[in-house]
Point group: C2
Chain length 65, copies 2
């Protein structure tokens, strides 16, 4: 899994004093990993359209719009 | 920043052979951090409505719907 359980618990714990189950952390990890992949795919299209070999911040921004 | 540049580059590099600028990695990090916070906030509401002290996977799933 791309994002560790401990990192996901850290993200959730930053917002609350509640306990966080391992499965909750895994669920969040899976979602963020999926979103990361989707944004990347869109950003790659943007970079390729411009004939660039580097993915830049503007490509990520374009992917988010 | 919640997600490290190296981790974000890893996510992007898993999808492509292109280079990835530091700013692109920062942009992705900021987006995923924001999404993580939003999902957490929604999941907390779900857990609180049920009077639970633990955030469970079902709360995350509910937040994603």
């Amino acid at each position: 899994m791309e994002f560790s359980i401990s990192k996901m618990k850290e993200v959730i714990k930053a917002e609350t004093d509640k306990r966080v189950s391992r499965e909750a952390a895994e669920e969040l990890s899976a979602d963020l990993e999926q979103r990361g992949k989707e944004i990347t795919q869109e950003a790659l299209k943007a970079a390729e359209q411009k004939g660039r070999v580097t993915v830049r911040a503007e490509d990520i921004k374009e992917a988010l719009n």
